[in-house]
Symmetry: C2
Subunit: 399 residues, 2 copies
């Protein structure tokens, strides 16, 4: 009878069909499931293994039968389009794009340390890089009748997921129509992640991958695409995922006054060593590792690393693949969707007892990260991209 | 005879045919002529009058006969294209774009104050906004035979000016081909500035206007356009107008290691009050004015102003036209080429004897300006976009 009760409780729990997750993940919330990998694993792989790719769910994971799955394309004259998973795979060329996704709340914990914000307390690993494959959204929109006529009134492409809350409200978001239709936008209706079907946590069977754009617009378990003159009316588009001045609080915030986050600003962080780590003096040098990425297809062109809290800087080595330091050709301008991993090995300053290691990245529009957190603090704790700092202690061998 | 000598000296001076300039300009160098308007005039007009638009010449101003002017388009199969000024006006639709141009060296004086750099000592006014009209570069390239075949190998569009040094070397630069050919790139072969033919200092009869891109690529007195697999080989593309880490000096600099500056980072500055100005205590409030702009068509969405050196912030009013505070519709995403002027009127803090006024802008990719100058310092003093700071003294009425 106890067993029966438990089963009944389990089946009334909307999260009961959530998938198993890798035990190495650091869990920020169980229901919905939100978790990030340990930083040192992140910089081990240029392409993040799907099992440790950060998980950011707003709602329970819907379980979708691929045989009956249907994607609806709406808003265009001619009655719209309905596509099965097989249609999507067979009727449209398959494109492959390696793209980094980052949660708007990545590094929120550093804002929380300045003054409390509202949101999951992400560390520095709510960002990951994967190779996605699927149909191009542009091709699907053209097949659905998008053309010069629609271009006259269309301004946004809205997405709706199959994930829903207890009232039946589904997750939704939108992107500007030119990002969706531009040949160089590289927006995918992805059905593969790292060469496999999408895992349940990442949107099986189909998600939108909007390279260069905040994670929140990369809608998972995609059910509906709507071409519209308006942005998505969802909570997450209208009243969340926006940036405000440090002065703005919950009494004064006017969500209409800021644009929805789309492209993200330049970002970098130190994955190795960890804050508070001990470095033996005998090692004579220290190796610092991390990631760097910028939104909007802007390529990271340099990462500066300081061992003295930002007084002097050294330039790190960048890499764009898993195969060592060999230089990959630069992607076309505006289409650098994937991060760079970086590394610097430098002599230990002989006198130092402690190092304050700092990193800052530069992208090819020469935007740089702001120096400090407080002036970019905002009530939702999003867009946290100040210089990243870790302190390490240099310890003698006998300690 | 003295008069004869003077005339001979004058005619051997390559700058002798430079035009007259407005006396209000602050001259940084006479030959070549480089000058900027007083900051308080800059924020008086949303569209900067041509006479006070900053002048940035690398070489003497060439005097061009519009009747015999010829623009050559090279590098495409089929022998290229030669266009007279009349051809350019009659064979191609006329487009009008309001775009802000900024010199890479704007605000270099603030870097110079940290540690000496090489370059003209610009203040905060090497930036201006004008309404440009002309043919679209895209249309001219299509007429010259640009198409899918050329897209396979073409990577850059090179420009050459008629301005040359004593050895005959002409000014040159290039931009990525996708900026030139994209329908949303809005690159013009401009023959009008603010409704008039281009003034001699701004490239009469034709200049390239590359919205969102550093001034140096907006080649004046345009003589030649070359579609190429390579960037311009000019000094200004290869060995100048690039950013480096603060550690890089003239002994260690490797110009190949950094990309040519194209899109510029987010920028803002305070035009009123001037640094060191006196504010009467009796006025009880202070009005702060300035400009804000970002490269790559990213729209400025917010300007934060601090009266206490960056501890607390207030949000300024933005405007996008000369007609008061009325909200203009936002430009399409990625095509915000013109600056915003901004203004904040705030109560004078009652106890203060001095205010440190600071501004910082945010663009719609939520990039922000770095806090301080030293960490972005570079040997050429380019890309100086830290928070702008002015100190003003609050004086009693009887002082
Ligand atoms: Mo997110
Ligand atoms: Mo410049």
């Amino acid at each position: 009878e106890d067993q029966k009760k438990q089963q009944s409780a389990a089946s009334s729990d909307p999260y009961s069909s959530d998938p198993e997750r890798h035990p190495v993940l650091r869990v920020n919330s169980l229901k919905p499931f939100n978790a990030e990998p340990p930083p040192e694993l992140l910089s081990d792989s240029y392409v993040t293994p799907s099992a440790i790719f950060f998980k950011r769910n707003h709602l329970p994971v819907p379980r979708v039968d691929p045989a009956s799955y249907e994607l609806q394309v709406d808003g265009l004259p001619g009655g719209g389009l309905k596509l099965s998973l097989e249609d999507l795979k067979n009727r449209f060329p398959k494109y492959t794009v390696t793209a980094t996704l980052q949660c708007a709340g990545n590094r929120r914990s550093e804002m929380n340390a300045v003054k409390q914000v509202k949101g999951l307390n992400w560390g520095i690993s709510a960002i990951s890089n994967a190779t996605w494959a699927g149909a191009r959204l542009r091709d699907v929109l053209l097949a659905a009748g998008y053309g010069p006529d629609a271009a006259r009134w269309a301004r946004h492409v809205q997405f709706e997921g199959l994930d829903k809350d207890v009232t039946g409200t589904t997750y939704g978001a939108s992107i500007p129509v030119n990002k969706a239709t531009n040949e160089e936008g590289d927006v995918l209706l992805a059905y593969e992640m790292n060469g496999e079907p999408l895992p349940p946590d990442h949107g099986f069977p189909v998600r939108v991958v909007v390279p260069g754009t905040v994670g929140a617009r990369n809608v998972k378990w995609l059910s509906k695409i709507t071409v519209s003159a308006e942005e998505s009316s969802s909570h997450w588009q209208q009243n969340d995922y926006k940036g405000f001045s440090p002065t703005t609080d919950w009494d004064t915030v006017d969500f209409k006054s800021a644009p929805a986050i789309q492209e993200l600003p330049v970002q970098s962080a130190i994955t190795v060593p960890a804050d508070g780590a001990a470095v033996p003096r005998g090692s004579e040098e220290v190796t610092v590792k991390g990631y760097a990425w910028s939104g909007g297809g802007r390529e990271v062109v340099r990462v500066d690393v300081s061992l003295d809290g930002g007084k002097t800087w050294q330039v790190a080595e960048l890499r764009s693949s898993d195969g060592g330091q060999n230089a990959e050709p630069s992607p076309p301008p505006g289409r650098a969707w994937a991060w760079k991993l970086w590394e610097l090995t430098a002599p230990l300053p002989s006198e130092a007892r402690q190092l304050e290691i700092v990193c800052k990245a530069v992208d090819n529009s020469y935007n740089m990260q702001p120096d400090t957190v407080a002036p970019i603090w905002n009530l939702r704790g999003v867009l946290s991209n100040a210089w990243h700092r870790v302190k390490v202690n240099i310890v003698d061998s006998n300690e």
